[in-house]
């Protein structure tokens, strides 16, 4: 068990390292000169050269990478050339925002997906089932930013129940956070929920066809009880995998949703910093996003192992 954990963590570290090389390599060929952006229009060549040196842009790429990596290991994401502030600190606050958004989005998704999927599977052959799977199909087909715009139009602009965007300020109460969270979480979560519902449905259908479900029925469990006591836990194993992937998708969906709802999370930070060619920051953000995806997968892996004794044994 411990050996397998170590093994997994080593593989994880290797993957992260490889990803960091890819990220650095990709972003160091970005066109646009961060020195120029920092200095604005009409800076002289000498000023630019000095600025580049100050930003460490005149060093060879490998040296720049190693320097960056060295900093990362100590939790130092570098200092932004554009804003002049440490990237790490801002990444932290932005990540918190995005995490809250995604967390609540995922909660919405699960709340939507599990009942929808399970009911669609149990009533598979009846009109209700078709209606439920149909509605999840429609949910998937709507681009999430459009869903966001529509939610804003109805619930913020017309009904004025919730703010049209923005985020709470530190010190504001939970109520403010909640008010700002409802619409984006709905926009993010309902679309993902529809996607997830399909997988829940097919996992439940698969499970319902398994032999041991028949055994459970033969014991005298009603279909609903059999599903509840035996089916769902088994269906959760494949759904978890998909859920992990979905969480990764959501991370990117959050970029869009943050733009729609003007939330200053990691996604809007990414777009801002790309626009200003704040390389160090962009590297940091992309790394954090990729790391989050990998981490989610790792956690899903571990949870699955915990749920499924066969996997526990194999490791």
């Amino acid at each position: 068990m411990i050996v397998s954990m170590t093994r997994r963590l080593l593989v994880f570290a290797g993957t992260v390292l490889a990803a960091s090389v890819v990220i650095f390599g990709l972003l160091s060929v970005l066109p646009g000169d961060p020195a120029e952006v920092a200095l604005g229009l009409g800076a002289s060549p000498e000023e630019l050269a000095a600025q580049r040196a100050e930003m460490g842009l005149d060093q060879p790429l490998v040296a720049q990478y190693l320097q960056w990596l060295g900093g990362l290991v100590q939790g130092d994401f570098g200092i932004s050339a554009v804003t002049g502030t440490p990237v790490g600190a801002e990444l932290g606050t932005r990540l918190t925002t995005t995490a809250v958004l995604i967390g609540s989005g995922m909660a919405v998704a699960v709340v939507v997906a599990v009942p929808l999927g399970v009911l669609a599977a149990t009533y598979q052959r009846r009109p209700v089932g078709a209606l439920l799977s149909g509605s999840s199909q429609v949910g998937i087909a709507v681009p999430n930013f459009l869903a966001g715009l529509l939610l804003i139009t109805v619930f913020a602009v017309q009904l004025r129940w919730f703010p049209a965007g923005g985020w709470y300020r530190t010190g504001d109460g939970f109520g403010t956070l909640f008010a700002h969270l409802v619409l984006p979480a709905l926009a993010l979560g309902s679309v993902q929920g529809a996607v997830l519902a399909r997988y829940v449905r097919s996992a439940v259908l698969d499970v319902m066809r398994d032999d041991w479900m028949r055994t459970a029925r033969a014991k005298g469990l009603s279909p609903a009880r059999a599903l509840l006591r035996h089916g769902l836990r088994n269906a959760a194993v494949p759904v978890l995998t998909v859920g992990g992937v979905q969480l990764g998708v959501m991370l990117i969906g959050a970029v869009v949703i943050e733009r729609v709802f003007v939330i200053n999370g990691l996604g809007s930070m990414l777009l801002e910093r790309i626009a200003t060619r704040d390389m160090i920051a962009v590297q940091g953000i992309v790394l954090v996003l990729v790391l989050a995806v990998l981490l989610v997968n790792l956690v899903v892996d571990l949870v699955q192992t915990a749920v499924d004794p066969r996997l526990r044994e194999a490791s």
Binding site: E36, G84, G165
Partner: protein, 477 residues
């Protein structure tokens, strides 16, 4: 909108939340470019000796009065009494001298507009002399810009995160691309401002700005770039909309230094080909105003002649044929902001009609567009809003991306700047006319300054005449 009852403002009493567009990268306009920093901080937090009022006149601010030497080589300013920085320290002539002497540490363009300043001399705590290396008729206006802001020596080390000025507000907190919180500076020389607190909320998207207003998250939207959004406020008595002028000329820049735009006939053809009114109709929803040169109507040397190059596709085709450029392909480098993309599509459509092939190149703004067009001057056609006041002189800047070479014009400008003050306006007008006549660029329209606010908000600037968004008189109730 058919709103369900009047929107409740989410701001507390005595507070105003203002929705703005792009957010500042930090608080330091001495080292970081971008219009957003001075828009927020100038006049509101930092003050200079003079400022430009809503009618585009230069009026006293920290200076009570001033005199210019007859040779135009020095100005003596008498400072206002009882001025304090927001950190409590008093503002004296030493601070003025300190600030102007520090200009060569700036990396942004505003300092260059004050390059005529040769030195300062402190006569008394309330009197300071500014000496020039050559006469400059633009000095006072330029002093009203960011370059003229007065700093205290005690607070220039961390300009990116702290802003200590003499203005009616001080910065309480700033979260990039989210909001800037300004609170009243109670020691302000003119007494505390009417609004206790201003929150500047930043929205990258105009739709979000208007939605914030409509849903009560903001009390005003200032500097809206998407006029089509205002339609939904029209019949709502809760909101008011004002349209003012700006100093932002939307310019169709042609690279005069390279083919085919080194040929004046081609440039003239372009000006005939493009229907400026259609561009304004589409890009600004018909708002803003027509211009024929890079001068807004608020400037004294406004070129009020009829357009020397009216919309005339036939003539354009002839000119192109003359120049042997019918059917040429031209690259059109456009910033990726909605208003430019909209305008560019109209321009492209017009140019296609006269037989040119236009390759639209949408580039990220600011980073990539600035690098390509401003930095490397690697472009043929480009479009951008020249927002800075009185910036027509850039046509004579040899390093500027226009690539325009015209010794006659250069002379005119030089004489206007350094010549007698009373001939300044006339000479500038001649300069502006020449630039337009030679078709150094296309001048599409003057950006409108659009403000939408809740009915109870007053004191917002109607026009954009300076680099600041002057919120010093904003009030609610």
């Amino acid at each position: 909108g058919c709103a369900a009852g009047p929107p409740a403002s989410r701001s507390a009493d005595g507070e105003i939340t203002i929705a703005l567009g792009t957010s500042p990268t930090n608080l330091d306009f001495t080292r970081s470019a971008g219009v957003a920093i001075p828009q927020a901080l100038l006049y509101n937090v930092y003050e200079g000796l003079v400022k430009i009022d809503d009618d585009a006149r230069v009026v006293p601010l920290l200076a009570e009065s001033w005199t210019a030497a007859p040779d135009g080589l020095s100005y003596t300013f008498r400072l206002r009494e009882g001025v304090r920085f927001s950190d409590g320290s008093p503002m004296t002539a030493d601070d003025v001298a300190f600030s102007f002497d520090r200009l060569d540490e700036w990396t942004t363009a505003s300092a260059r507009s004050l390059s005529a300043i040769a030195g300062t001399r402190v006569l008394s705590p309330r009197e300071v002399v500014v000496e020039l290396s050559e006469p400059d008729n633009d000095l006072l206006r330029n002093l009203a810009g960011p370059g003229g802001a007065i700093f205290t020596p005690g607070a220039v080390d961390e300009l990116a995160t702290t802003a200590v000025g003499t203005g009616p507000y001080r910065v309480e907190g700033y979260t990039q691309s989210f909001e800037m919180r300004l609170v009243a500076h109670d020691d302000h020389w003119a007494g505390p401002p009417q609004a206790r607190r201003l929150t500047l909320s930043y929205y990258s998207d105009p739709t979000a700005q208007i939605n914030a207003l409509l849903s009560g998250s903001a009390d005003a939207v200032v500097g809206l770039t998407a006029p089509q959004l205002l339609g939904q406020l029209d019949d709502d008595p809760e909101f008011a909309v004002t349209e003012g002028t700006t100093t932002g000329e939307v310019v169709l820049a042609m690279n005069n230094a390279t083919a085919p735009f080194d040929d004046e006939r081609v440039r003239r053809a372009i000006r005939h080909a493009v229907d400026d009114d259609a561009v304004r109709e589409v890009a600004a929803d018909g708002r803003g105003s027509a211009i024929t040169s890079m001068v807004p109507p608020t400037d004294p040397w406004y070129d009020d002649r009829p357009d020397p190059y009216p919309h005339d596709p036939e003539r354009a085709r002839e000119l192109l044929a003359e120049a042997g450029q019918s059917g040429t392909e031209v690259g059109f480098t456009v910033p990726n902001l909605p208003q430019y993309v909209a305008a560019a599509q109209v321009v492209q459509s017009d140019l296609t009609r006269v037989g040119l092939t236009v390759d639209l190149r949408i580039r990220e703004f600011p980073a990539v567009w600035l690098d390509e067009v401003f930095g490397r001057k690697d472009y043929q056609l480009a479009i951008i809003n020249h927002a800075e006041p009185r910036d027509i002189g850039q046509f004579s800047n040899p390093d500027y991306y226009f690539g325009y070479r015209d010794p006659v014009a250069d002379d005119l400008l030089d004489q206007a700047r350094t010549g007698p003050a009373d001939e300044y306006t006339g000479r500038m007008r001649a300069y502006a006319e020449r630039i337009s006549d030679r078709a150094a660029a296309g001048f599409l329209y003057l950006t409108p300054w659009l403000t939408a606010h809740r009915e109870d908000v007053t004191g917002l600037p109607v026009n954009s005449t300076s680099e600041s968004i002057d919120l010093t008189r904003a009030a609610r109730g």
